[in-house]
Every structure is written in C-alpha cells, then in structure tokens.
Subunit: 335 residues, 2 copies
Amino acid sequence: MNNPELTIQDVAKAAGVSPATVSRVMTGSAGVKSDKAARVRAVIEQLGYRPNPFARSLSQKSSRTIGVLVPQLADDFYGQIITGVDRELRLHGLQLHIALAHNNPEEETSALTNFAERQVDGMILIAHHISDQTLLGLKARRLPVVLINRSVPELSNHCINLDNVQGGFEATQHLLELGHRRIAHISGDLEIAGARERLEGYRMALRDAGIEPHEDWLVEASFSEEYGRHAMQRLLARTQVSALFAASDSLAVGAMIAAREAGLRLPQDLSIIGFDDRNFARYVSPALTTMHYPMLEMGISAAQHIIAQLREEPISRLERFQAHLVERASTQRQA
Amino acid sequence: MNNPELTIQDVAKAAGVSPATVSRVMTGSAGVKSDKAARVRAVIEQLGYRPNPFARSLSQKSSRTIGVLVPQLADDFYGQIITGVDRELRLHGLQLHIALAHNNPEEETSALTNFAERQVDGMILIAHHISDQTLLGLKARRLPVVLINRSVPELSNHCINLDNVQGGFEATQHLLELGHRRIAHISGDLEIAGARERLEGYRMALRDAGIEPHEDWLVEASFSEEYGRHAMQRLLARTQVSALFAASDSLAVGAMIAAREAGLRLPQDLSIIGFDDRNFARYVSPALTTMHYPMLEMGISAAQHIIAQLREEPISRLERFQAHLVERASTQRQA
C-alpha cells in the first residue's frame, strides 16, 4: 500500500506527534525516544506513507536548513515575517538559520558567505545592500533564493514585494473619501524604493481627485518616530492641512505627538493615517488608522516559494502583495 | 611589538572596518576585498596585535556560531533579548544560529540536537521543557551553555534570571506608596515560576504594609491581553479595589479594556501597573506605568557569559537582574 496523496502532516496527526518528529524518525536523527519512534514507524507502515523525492533528497544530502537574513529583530516587524517563514518551513521539517545584518553592506555579504559555508538549502533575504551581481551569482549556482522587498529584473520570479504604490494610493484615497482636500505627506527616506513608491501613490491619488499636490505639503523624513515629530513641526510651521498620510506607523505616532504639542485635537483638527499596522498601532490614542502590511503572509509565501524551488517545480512571477486599509479612530470626516 | 592590551575593536577602529571584518581577515575567510584585507593586515602589523588564545581557537576548530533557542519571535520580547545577544557576539566575530521552539517540548529537544549537529560553540537557551538531566548532560560534555529564565541548581552559575519577587514587590509597593490599600493582582499562569514569584512579591509587599491579601483580589490568568480582559471582568464582578497590579503589560492592557467597558475612569477610578515594559506600554492610554524588564541587558550578559566560558575563564554565580519602575500615567494617588 502506497498512497501518494499522504503527507507528513497526515502521519504526524495519526501518530500524535509533530511533523518534525516524523521527519526525524525518517531521517534517523537522534532525539526521538525509542517508543515514540516505534509508534511513528508503525503509523508510516500502516498508512503506507512514502516520502516524496523532495523529502528524500532533504534526508540524504542537505542541511535541512534555510538561511534567513533580516536587518534586525528589535521590533516586531521582521519578527512577524520570520514567524510566517518558520510556520511554513516547520511543516516540511526544515529549520531556519537567522542572521542579522543591521543594514550594513559588509555584514550582509558576510552573512551570505556564512550561509554558503553552512550549506543551507536555500536563502530568504531581506537585504538592500547586496549587489544585483552577487544575487545573480546565487541563481547561477542554482541555489534556491527568495528576495523580500527588493526588485532585481532578472530575478523577478524570486522577488516578493508589497505594492507600495497601491498602498500609498489607497491611504490617500481614504482621506479624500472623508472629504479632505489639503492632505500632507511625511515620507520615508527617499533613497528607499518603498518610500518613493508610497509617495508616488499619494501623488497619483491626489491628481486623480483633481488636486495638484502642493510642495509645502511634503516633508521627507526617515522611518522613525523622532523624524515624524520633527517633520510634523516643519509642516505646521509652513502650511495648514486637515489630514496627513504618514509613510509609516512610527512616523504617524511622532506626528501625533507634534500635533498635540501644537494644540491640535486628534482627529477633529487633523486626521492621520499611517502605514504598516505595527503591533502598537491599535494602542495609540486615537487608535491609528493605517494600511496593514501582510508581513506574516509574505513570510509564508517566501517559504512556500523556497520549497517549490527545492522541489524543482516551475515557478512563476509572484503577484505583489497588497496592503489593506484598517480603519480605526485617527481619521474622520472633514468638518 | 606585541601589546596584549589590544583588542580586535582597536584594530577594527584603526582600519576603519568592523570587528567582524578583522576576524574574517585573521581567519582567512572569503568575502573581504583584497585591498581592504591588505589594509587590515597592515594595521595588525603596525599595532602589533596578536589574537588571544580564545580567538585562535575560534579561528581553527570552531563553527564560530552560538545557538540561541527562543519560544517565538512574533512580538518584540525575545527579539530584544536576541538583539542584546547579537550586539555582544558580533564584537567577537561570532554568529547566532536562532531556533524557535514554540514552547513545545519536542521542538526544544530537536533544536538541541540540531545545534549539536551543526557544532555550535555554545548555546543560549530560553526553554522551559528541556529536562534538567538533558541540561546537565550538556555541561558534562563541557559545552558552553547559558540558560535564561530558568533555574537548575547544579547549573546556577549558568542561569540568568530576573528577580521576579523583587519586581512584584516593587510594583505593589508603588501602589501602596500612592495610598492604595485594596490592591488586586491578575497573575500569569501559575505553572510558570516567574508568575508565582511575581505573586509572591505582591503578597510580601501587602503583608509588609500590614494588609492581608484578600483571596477575592487574586485572579489567575495566562499572559495575554484576552485573559487580562476576562480576569478583570471576574474581579469587577466580585470585589471593589482602587488599584491593580497586572503580571504583564498584555494582561494590563486587557484589564484596561474591561475596566473601561465597566465604566471606570483610568486612572481616577483604578490605578493599573503592568510588568515588562513592552514597546506598546508607552502608547496605550493612559500610558502604562510598569516594571521595566531589562531584556537587552540580559541578552548582552548571556553573550558575555558564553564568551567567558569559551575562554575558559572562571565564572561565578550571576546576580539576578532587577526590574525597575517606569512611572507613566496609569497610576495615581488614591483620592
């Protein structure tokens, strides 16, 4: 009896253990008690489970590990992406090797070397400094790779991105639909593509509504609360608006602080929408309306994509992920 | 010229590169451009820098990697600890191998096996399910190990803990000093030692003030916002208090929601103090008074401790880390 539809999850469920344990029993790894291992083997026999070629190749010649490179883990943003990656990889008995590179070019390169030394089976990279050439070299060596938040034309089938133009457009559209006409934008660092794209979405939405974006309405900042506060102070000193689209939740929170310091009531005097939907967005007062960034889903997708590459399945260009509006209390109809 | 006081940091600074790059040059690893490598070697020569025996042993036979096991990374708590560990290890050219075990006994054990297979140089473990016996086995094999938030008597020199009794005591003391006498406590899951210790601190502080803790004032919950909300509903249904010590910030936020739903004004009708000082604590309204959990510092200390073990320096019992009071707006003097 050999049922090709059976998965490792079915075996795990029937044996009352985790898929990782089934994987360990099948690969003969240590760390599973003998009575439990015997139970798993009995279930494998009974159900007629045979691992697919992918699983066999993993058991024989690979490190069963995927390298994941992120800038940092001090807040919840990259932690959420990793949580998604981990959730999917575990189902396949694969492990993560996480490296932090602090947006530092040398450390990003060094992490790649380290992944190679450790013979990872694939890499998921959130790295802005590694050159396109280096990334193309990985592909030439047939190493499964997924890039998150990066666009390399020759690797377009390997890139997972958020549609930041659409996100910026919808955020601005939300304010327009509430009747606002004078809408400011605090952007992220415009050296970052995502920041430029959100700005582009903002401009498109205004022009679609027949409004020419005034240059006084735009302040370039960096993605942090402190920059948001200073940017808002500059905005308030030179113009008057009824609404603000801040390019991140951190910027929005900084802007809230500066607006309050200037005596504005929120949201009566100023509607504010952020971007990302970070953990703290629902806790600020008023609770922040924002564009939800599907971090968990992008992590899951990155892991599925790596697994497809390991299985040598054909892969096609990925759809961009869409941010979606989460309405809370920081935006209201223009009086 | 051979100056034994010189560190790898001095060389890095003089050469204008990162310590990791110096380490790579010294170990002959790939990934450093030849002109940069030449500059580093010139500085090493010029300063007379000689790596210490620890660095030499690392360069010759080790994986230069420390395994770090955490339950999850979906919020900022463990991310902060990892940030501290990473900050210190990088100074010594060491890398992290992070594994997530989801508070699952099998996955914790499996991660240990995996660390061993990858020949990590040491392990930093936040794991509640791995048996004392297994941990003693690691020590017997002379593998450097540090345990965070766990107490194993025979490994007391290897355990880094927060003094939760002191933290619970000071949190309650803060409410007592504000004139509160009827003080409730929402505890974490009392199967967790830290939750029991915070409760013990609460009781000690009340008794020190001549107040016998009333059993109606205590509700056992689990460390989550939803549990905090339900616990507060139960409290409000059966007793009246002027202040609450919640055993975590998540519990405190849940309690805030339930208190507002019941028509209480915060902090006028109810003072609330949390525990942990999570990222969101300063954003809730009123901003949450809480006990700061030194996650970053504990991560740094764990890494320093591993490095001391790698260097075979004598190690002594570690002081418990102390939580400290952060006063914000959610607590006020009893009217």
